[in-house]
């Protein structure tokens, strides 16, 4: 019996279905909790060419759900490692690796050469970016998303009424509603279920078997083992928010931060400030706040001045902000990230009052 005999003997699927799979090109965006089961099932089923996009590396805390990876892979890039693991299992398949995060510069070019796109990303920014690119290029998009014990599954740009994510959610939610992406808990099996459903929809789209879940959102609740289906229709307001052209798409900013600013510890902050010429460590306390520090590694620019003139920091690639406790610097880091999405902007953990801070001393009067 051949490798695919158990599916080719299905009357609806047959040899013909298998050939459709082997000719197909499927792009999986995000090789994480959702991406891993998607990739595993697409490859096992014999999808001929699989593209994998992910700019991240594997960490120990990924392993509860990112089932392609094991302990030995930690620290390695996700996209190429996923391709390597799958190539070893199925040497006849082709894998195209994109070890970058998708952005407005590379998205259209990467997406355009694939037949079906799978979204398994972990943030709203990339979700809207992938959605908008797929609308522009008219590519079927199989989107999965999870939150703690619940999941969503949606198929866009497919069928008689081509719907998209903005028909369901016209705009990304505001930043303060977004939990810290990295720290929201998830039971590993949940993305396993949603990702497997995504893979199943891809196989249906490619083979023509069954009825694809289009014009609907499917919710899954792991705690109740329940599914809930909701019908969707075109949303005029949502469609007005779509980019009008590829040019318009490339000019857009899809950077949406997690609700929490990126933080850096004092040791690294000092190292960067002292040794990297493109880094600046700024004490953002307002004029009059004491004590004053005169350190070669520290610049003093009050928060109010930075808000008025953020361009004063534009020469630096790494902007490290500190205040007394880390609260104001965290707020300002979020604001500056909007202004300079390409730069690395950090709030120094715990601020000057942090015991690890070289500026923390008894003279500091709270």
């Amino acid at each position: 019996m051949s490798r695919f005999s158990r599916q080719t003997i299905l009357p609806e699927f047959g040899q013909e279905g298998q050939e459709k799979l082997s000719r197909a090109r499927v792009l999986v965006v995000g090789a994480g909790g959702l991406g891993c089961p998607v990739l595993l099932h697409l490859a096992a089923a014999g999808v001929g060419t699989i593209g994998i996009v992910d700019g991240d590396t594997i960490s120990e805390s990924n392993l509860n759900r990112q089932t392609l990876f094991g302990h030995q892979h930690t620290g390695r890039p996700k996209a190429s490692t996923a391709a390597e693991v799958l190539k070893e299992k199925y040497p006849d398949l082709n894998f195209e690796v994109f070890s970058d995060f998708l952005n407005t510069n590379n998205a259209l070019e990467i997406i355009s050469s694939f037949d079906v796109i799978v979204d398994g990303t972990d943030n709203f920014g990339t979700r809207y970016l992938v959605n908008d690119a797929c609308v522009l290029l008219n590519k079927p998009l199989v989107m999965g998303a999870i939150y703690k014990y619940e999941g969503q599954l949606m198929i866009f740009n497919y069928g008689s009424v081509a719907l998209n994510y903005r028909d369901v959610y016209p705009n990304p939610p505001s930043e303060n509603q977004i939990p810290n992406c990295a720290e929201t808990g998830v039971l590993g099996v949940l993305p396993g279920i949603i990702g497997t459903l995504q893979a199943s929809e891809v196989l249906k789209i490619l083979s023509g078997v069954g009825k694809v879940l289009s014009e609907k959102i499917l919710f899954f609740n792991l705690k109740n083992s329940s599914f809930y289906e909701v019908g969707i229709q075109p949303n005029t307001k949502g469609r007005e928010n779509l980019p009008e052209s590829e040019m318009d798409f490339k000019d857009r900013n899809y950077n949406i931060n997690c609700g929490i600013a990126e933080r850096i510890n004092w040791e690294t902050a000092l190292d960067w400030a002292l040794n990297m010429t493109n880094s600046i460590l700024v004490d953002i306390r307002e004029t009059g706040e004491k004590p004053l520090f005169e350190k070669e590694y520290l610049s003093r620019i009050p928060m109010g001045d930075i808000r008025e003139n953020p361009e004063s920091l534009s020469a630096y690639e790494n902007i490290l902000l500190c205040c007394a406790s880390g609260q104001r610097s965290s707020q300002l880091a979020k604001e500056l990230k909007q202004q300079f999405p390409e730069k690395k902007i950090f709030s120094v953990e715990g601020g000057i009052l942090n015991p690890a801070s070289p500026l923390n001393s008894n003279e500091y009067d709270t």
């Binding site: 939610p173 509603q177 289906e229 019908g231």
Partner: protein, 78 residues
């Protein structure tokens, strides 16, 4: 028991005492939302879409009084 059935998903459910509960009859979805916001002010901070009898709605929709209303936030995790 008569009245609307409200079902909440994701982060919305965390702002409400129950994932699913009965709610007094309202004329339309705008009135329902106003009452929900009044009773559960935390909801105001969150974006969600609304479905009536498992169909997503985009504007104020009249209610008979026995519909199932779903509050559906977007999920971002992967």
């Amino acid at each position: 028991m008569e009245g609307l059935t409200v079902k909440a998903f994701g982060m919305i459910a965390e702002k409400l005492p129950e994932q699913e509960f009965k709610f007094p009859k309202k004329e339309n979805t705008e009135e329902l939302l106003a009452s929900l916001y009044n009773e559960y002010p935390n909801l105001k901070d969150l974006d969600f879409s609304l479905a009536v009898n498992q169909q997503l709605i985009q504007q104020n929709t009249p209610l008979e009084g026995d519909e199932e209303i779903a509050l559906l936030p977007p999920f971002s995790g992967g």
